[in-house]
Amino acid sequence: MISSTRKPALAAAAGLLSIGLLAGCSGGSTDGGGEAASGTYTWWDPYPQHESGSDWANRVEACGTEAGVEIQRTAYDTTALTNQALLAAQEGSSPDVILLDNPAVSTLAEAGILSTVDELGLDVSEVDENLLAAGQLEGDTFGIPIGANTLALYYNTAVLEAAGVDPASVTDWASLTAALEAIDASGARGITFAGIGTEEGSFQFLPWFWGAGADLDELDSPEAVAALTLWKDWVDRGLAPNTVINNSQNTTWEEFLTGDFGFVENGTWQVNSAAEAGFETGYVEIPAESGGVAPAPTGGEFIVAPVQDDDARYDVTREIVECMTTPEGFVETANTFAYYVPPTEEGQEALVEERPDLETWVSAVREAKGRTSDDLGTDYPVVSEALWTAVQRALSGIASPQEALEAAQDQVESELG
């Protein structure tokens, strides 16, 4: 009895496991290495939502046709993509082109699996310095941003009007907190943001962290404590909901779409959704502590070319990359991806000409700062993990902002030596 119930369960589990392993193997090995037919080039990107036949897939295909080859595109989940790229490099079967989330570029570059733009013969002089920084490590540049996004504060016009708040009055932290108090007093909720224990949590916290004048080299500086105290204070006083501790950026957006919230911290990628919301929305840039615009972190993907055994492939790879990074190419990407801001001035001007209402976003992107810049490079993931843990610990009341950030700094120092 016992063994007969056990065996099928175990066999099934073993079967599932082996299917998983087989799938993993075939995924790596079919994407041929240097010796594969020269007519097929492999392309990985983190956009599984764009299926084959979509505008984006057609665009990728068109760039291949232009270069005289066929592009075989595979889409992965963002986090899975970094791991897949590492595994493929280990197997010697890297794809020809990868679109990679910008903080991951220095990680893969550090592993020595990306070719530099000089090796490929690409020109990056037109690309904005603050955006390109995420792809630079020790003086070399490992890719080109295909577009950039960043964070700002969206607001619900009706909620603000009911509370008597003028969005233009939000110029620093004090005026923002005052606005949140007024909204709270009017019966609506103040603001929501994402404090989840993943990279998204750090991404959302950074505008406040940098806006206070803090630096990622020193997580427990008084400025950093001030930024975390601001968040903690909002949560403790109910100006922000308690759910922010577990919120992802998508969840915060859904909370905002209920119409109950005055403000939400979110990104360029929600422009379309905001326009379709059941109420009127607007956005302001995130204020720094004592006025002015806070530097928000840049988001967005880089186009990178992993090292190949066969040098001859680089010529076509360059053509494909160039096809994606012309000014027209940037604008097209921007439109395909719900307002991805082009990384070059020429591209930005072309976009603003088409969509004047996006000017705030373009200027926000120009002010924005790469997460791995300041020569943090591959140290960034370690710092970021310590930072989001500190945010979580402080907001949930495990530790005070001061204690949480001190512990975070200790953790970084012990891990990076």
Binding site: L17, E199, N242, N246, T378, L395, S396
Partner: protein
């Protein structure tokens, strides 16, 4: 990766045990051929199984050991020339401030889940033993948690337990209870994920214990009721003792399943807030895949510690079983 490896590792003992038994009857000894021929035939019959075991169980396990005893930086992972560091990764893991928290969380989560799952599963199994109208349908409904994809059930639980808009808080609110921050307070987060995991585990316990109950002959109950034993007495004197072997294996499998749970916790809290719901399995997963920088070596070390815990429990089980049979 590490979790699947841990998985493979813990089950390997069982598979190897089953494997030892099956090839033997497959190759009956033929006297006419020399002992050599018989041995070759035996090897031939065993070969597919042995290959399978080697490729899918032995290799991942060895690879996990290899990862945990070397310092695999990202560069070393690609080039394959990681420095051998012996047990350094294990020392780092055990001396990390997170180790104590993770171990305690694992113990509370695992033991809490199993105790409640088993009790409720057994109660339901006994309840369904007496067939009544619609009992088949009801029993099938209890299997729903098992059939749902984990991402669906875990997301549903996290919505229900949402501090501000969750249905649980709105029901409690109707009875005058204030807002409980189920998933965002360090005091209740572990309890919340344990509750969700209990719900997921009940069907497994129900099914196995129910089928165990079918093996207890009705005559024993009839005889005992003639002797005047009430339902309570019947349970403690007949059901429970006769179900002991099935209970033991249910508890062991439950333990192994629960030790390696990552998905439920990851979806509901990502191990947070802070490290309030970080178990060893979640810790291993987050080292390898949860951050922007994959740290496979410490992840593998944590995974191996888990395998070791499961192995010790498995050996204890075998020991207990032997003593029972003796």
């Amino acid at each position: 990766m590490t979790t699947t490896l841990a998985d493979a590792g813990t089950r390997r003992g069982d598979r190897a045990g089953a494997g030892d038994g099956s090839p033997a009857p497959a190759g009956p000894p033929r006297r006419r051929r020399g002992p050599n021929g018989t041995q070759w035939a035996a090897v031939g019959f065993a070969a597919p199984l042995l290959t399978y075991l080697a490729v899918f169980y032995a290799y991942p396990l060895l690879r996990n050991l290899d990862l945990s005893t070397h310092d695999y930086t990202i560069r070393a992972f690609v080039t394959g020339d990681a420095e051998f560091v012996g047990l350094d990764n294990y020392v780092d893991v055990v001396s990390s401030p997170l180790f104590g928290t993770a171990l305690a969380n694992t113990a509370i989560f695992t033991l809490g889940s199993i105790a409640v799952q088993f009790t409720l599963g057994l109660a339901l199994a006994v309840f369904f033993r007496s067939s009544f109208r619609l009992s088949g349908l009801l029993r099938a409904l209890f299997l729903v948690p098992w059939l749902l994809p984990l991402i669906v059930s875990a997301s549903t639980w996290s919505w229900m337990l949402n501090s501000e808009n969750g249905i649980v808080n709105s029901v409690l609110g109707a009875f005058g209870v204030g807002q409980v921050n189920w998933l965002t307070s360090p005091d209740t987060a572990l309890l919340s994920v344990t509750i969700a995991n209990i719900w997921l585990g009940i069907p497994f316990n129900l099914v196995i214990l129910y089928s165990g109950l079918q093996n207890i002959p009705d005559e024993v109950y009839e005889a005992s009721s003639l002797d005047g034993a009430g339902p309570w007495r019947q349970f403690w004197s007949i059901t429970f003792p006769l179900l002991r072997p099935v209970s033991a294996i249910t508890l062991l499998l439950g333990l192994i399943y629960t030790l390696k749970v990552v998905d439920v916790i990851w979806i509901m809290t990502t191990g947070g807030p802070g490290d309030a719901t970080t178990t060893l399995a979640v810790w291993s997963y987050s080292e390898a895949f949860g951050t922007g920088r994959p740290d496979f070596s410490p992840a593998a070390a944590v995974g191996n510690v888990l395998i070791l815990i499961a192995l010790v429990c498995g050996l204890l089980h075998i020991q207990l079983q032997r003593r029972q049979e003796a």
